[in-house]
Assembly symmetry: C2
Homo-oligomer: 209 residues x 2
Amino acid sequence: MPAPAEPRRGRPGYDQAGVLAVAVAAFNEHGYDATSISVLADRLGISKSAIYHHFASKEQMLDRALGEALDELEGVIDEADASGGRAIDRLEQVLRGATRVLVDKLPYVTLLLRVRGNTEVERRALGRRRAFDRRVTDLVSEAQSERALRTDIDASVVSRLAFGMINSIVEWYRPGGREDADRLADDVIAIALDGLRMPTSNRVEELLG
Amino acid sequence: MPAPAEPRRGRPGYDQAGVLAVAVAAFNEHGYDATSISVLADRLGISKSAIYHHFASKEQMLDRALGEALDELEGVIDEADASGGRAIDRLEQVLRGATRVLVDKLPYVTLLLRVRGNTEVERRALGRRRAFDRRVTDLVSEAQSERALRTDIDASVVSRLAFGMINSIVEWYRPGGREDADRLADDVIAIALDGLRMPTSNRVEELLG
């Protein structure tokens, strides 16, 4: 006896990830609230019920989409933690990894950064963002204790300003532009850790004290 | 014969600037499109026609509010240009001044940063933002030519990342917090120009080459 066929999931060409990608693009363009399942069905050229084969609700789509970004970002910091070594090196790994996630998952991170906490799903995502921020701040504190980072700036301000720089990438980065993810990560690390100023012999002498 | 009285402008306690401040808070909280003149009248406790004494339309309010932020930001760069001197010093002045404008005009800059260009007023504001960005990029290029700033990062990427850091302040800064505008400006300058890494004797030797 043949095994029962898998239920058909949407039109050929759209798997769950494909439906989600189109939904995220629409959420970013028109806003989550303003995007109905009917609008998505039109955009995908499939029926509403075909969408419901993939997702129970619009909120489940949002949850999955925010998870795409958050899972990756948390993965970056988990990996850095697991690598051990000096906090400054782990911090560099996190800044570099987060920049790469931003570029690789641009629409998902864009959506995440716009979440304001209006629903339970959004509040959960905000909670995960805050936990991520706390872990970065702890890493900065640790690197300050190691005397690897300057200690005259509050660790939470450092982590906010550094991620302000990284997150701003969603505002202007366009795939296929002059900068790829690795180059951009180098730029972020160079500015955040070493600064833009060209060291003058003057300043080096001052540093040598 | 007594001079004709000035027309009453709204309820005592609300001059034009007061009406605008309440409107900007509402636009930031609920979105510009979602905020009607009726909603504003309720919030202000005055009639719609009292609002129309001050502003011809909601769009005029938006125009004025975006102008508040843009005038100040352009003022910062005009002043730096007028001061002459090295490009690196003018750039430092612009980064510091822009951080101060962000803190002083927080709700107005928040509104400006959310503008997406859906109307003529918004497109004009975006045009002014782009012109501002170009002037900052030119200043970075000039400082690179002076050999005062590292030249291995594209000037437009530098200006975008630096302003990404500054603009992110609207996301988390709350007036009356631990950091005041001057302290925050010092932090931004310190990170952007000199970086977070503590110079080690190792590195100083490497810099001395």
